[in-house]
Amino acid sequence: MKIKGNIVRGNAKTKSGVFAEIKRDYKLNKYLVFFSIPVVVWYFIFHYVPMYGVIIAFKDYNVAQGFLASKWVGIEHFKTFFKSYYFVRILINTLLLSFYNLIFSFPIPIILALVLNEVRSKVLKSTIQTITYMPHFISLVVICGMAYIFLSKGGPINSIALLFGGEEINYLMYSQYYRIIYIALGLWQNAGWNSIIYIAALTAIDITQYEAAEIDGANRLHKLWHVTIPGILPTIIITLILNIGRFMSEGSDKTILLYNEATYEVSDIISSYVYRNGLLKADYSSSAAIGLFNSVINMLLIYGSNAFSRVVNETSLW
């Protein structure tokens, strides 16, 4: 038995290279090869073919000729985009939205987890958890729909504003309120849910550390500051780094639901512009170029942040 195994290994060494290895794999793990085929094919069709299709960013794509036969135009689409008025606008809007998200949506779940951790009654704690996680399961369409109703003329927000002598307006039509609304909706939907990871980290803190601190005469604030926060600091740092890695990947879903022509100057971001220009106006090539520009920056940010987190924490996503 042992000799046979050695021969197999020996063969693979002489016939080095990917194909020899695949062949040997097939012999040893026939079923695993069959299992992997649908998955590999799926990734190929729905991820790698589109990656290849991104060459249309350098072409004048037309539907009749397809990815391959369309005419090359080089970096023409990139030049036009970088020179256009929209480039600066959607770049700044994307960055600002991510920045505000980081300032508000990042710390609040941490605070929520810390405050929840101090609650002694189990029933109260789990009730509050159930309530604060709940909006995460409401669909974005419904959440934005609620925003429309609440913020429209005659809606509850306006009727409260009227009581305080305000003016009745449709808030979603005014640029100055757009970002606040966008961030607030995100917080309402996900602050509770995002606190779970910190709550998990909190439960992992060794209870004897608290006991030791108590013997040393620490009160609850001391314990919070010297035991609890250092205990979840690694989690906070990883989440922060990952958030920075997603700085340019704000999705178009919420924007498409919330924005309108009156607020484009602050609401239009890269992904929504690609959607509008590419799919609604069928301007495929130049939109693919903008998408590629975004994808490359995303890749650098995600890769960089992940490498950084590996250095800082000796843990990474992969």
Binding site: V39, G53, I149, S252, Y275, G278
Partner: protein, 293 residues
């Protein structure tokens, strides 16, 4: 001294608890408002200023409009089909991918894993993906909602992490008894993976239930629309007015507002009723993911 610390402790607890109650109220109240408004008389609601703490003149009139609206029913039916079949497909594919990559002795793994993970870093983007899906003949085809988003690499990694935690000795002893990988997967691994399977089902099902973007870009035929697309029309594009034909404009406006509230309740209540029962599974998923993250 002791009395002082005691008081501080109480103050701390009171402050903490009231902060949390305030947060819960902020989270819950918008939903309660929608619930109260949906049962309110539409004229009284239109004339009302400020917040609600109970329905104004209890009536189910707006629910009658919603239930009479055929698009809500079509949407519900389609969404249920998409959720059921999409979840089955996603679960099967994710399980296969996760199992293959969890087998450390499978040499191909070292190529497949980076092959999959790379897609988390880089993507072709919206436009090329759209053109590929369209090129495959999936435009205006319900499969366009199931196939392109079938595997979430993130979920696959969560599942793989779980599979990797199952002792190897268990697999090896079964292998010595002559079992092939199919038997190992279905008889040994999956029966031990109930919790991660539950997590996957919930993640994929919620994603499919709430998804609307793919449906918006790939579907044209209204009879294929999922519920969320109809909701978008009613809540955001204001086409709900069509539900109340034959009444004057002002009245129609008033009633259509009430209909929106009832529509939100009808579309959201199922998931919000089921969710507290399944909460611990969702939380478990975040925990499993957190081990790796």
């Amino acid at each position: 001294m002791q009395k002082k610390t005691f008081n501080m402790g109480v103050a701390y607890d009171v402050l903490n608890t009231s902060l949390l109650l305030l947060l819960s109220l902020i989270t819950l109240y918008p939903l309660l408002y929608v619930l109260f408004a949906s049962f309110s008389d539409s004229n009284m609601l239109a004339g009302h200023g400020g917040l609600l703490h109970k329905p104004l003149g209890f009536t189910i009139a707006s629910y009658r409009y919603v239930f009479r609206n055929s698009s809500i029913w079509i949407g519900y039916g389609n969404t249920i089909l998409y959720v059921v079949f999409g979840t089955m497909l996603s679960l099967a594919m994710t399980t296969l991918g996760a199992y293959v990559t969890s087998c450390k002795d499978f040499f191909w793994t070292k190529y497949i894993m980076p092959y999959m993970v790379f897609t988390m870093f880089f993507s072709g983007g919206l436009i090329p993906t759209f053109l590929v899906v369209k090129g495959l003949g999936l435009y205006d085809n319900p499969l366009a909602l199931l196939l392109p988003s079938c595997i979430s690499t993130w979920n696959l990694i969560i599942m793989r992490t779980f599979f990797s935690g199952i002792p190897r000795s268990l697999k090896e002893s079964t292998k010595i008894d002559g079992a092939n990988e199919w038997i190992i997967l279905t008889r040994i691994i999956l029966p031990l993976s109930g919790s991660v399977i539950a997590v996957m089902i919930l993640y994929y099902a919620v994603g499919l239930w709430n998804g609307w973007f793919n449906a918006m870009i790939y579907l044209r035929n209204r009879s294929l629309f999922p519920l969320q697309l109809f909701l978008r029309e009613i809540l955001i594009s204001n086409s709900g007015d069509d539900m109340v034909l034959g009444i004057n404009d002002a009245e129609r406006q008033t009633i259509s507002e009430s209909i929106k509230y009832a529509t939100i309740i009808v579309s959201t209540l199922p998931i919000l009723t089921i969710y507290p029962l399944l909460q611990k599974h969702f939380v478990k998923g975040v925990m499993i993911g957190a081990v790796k993250g």
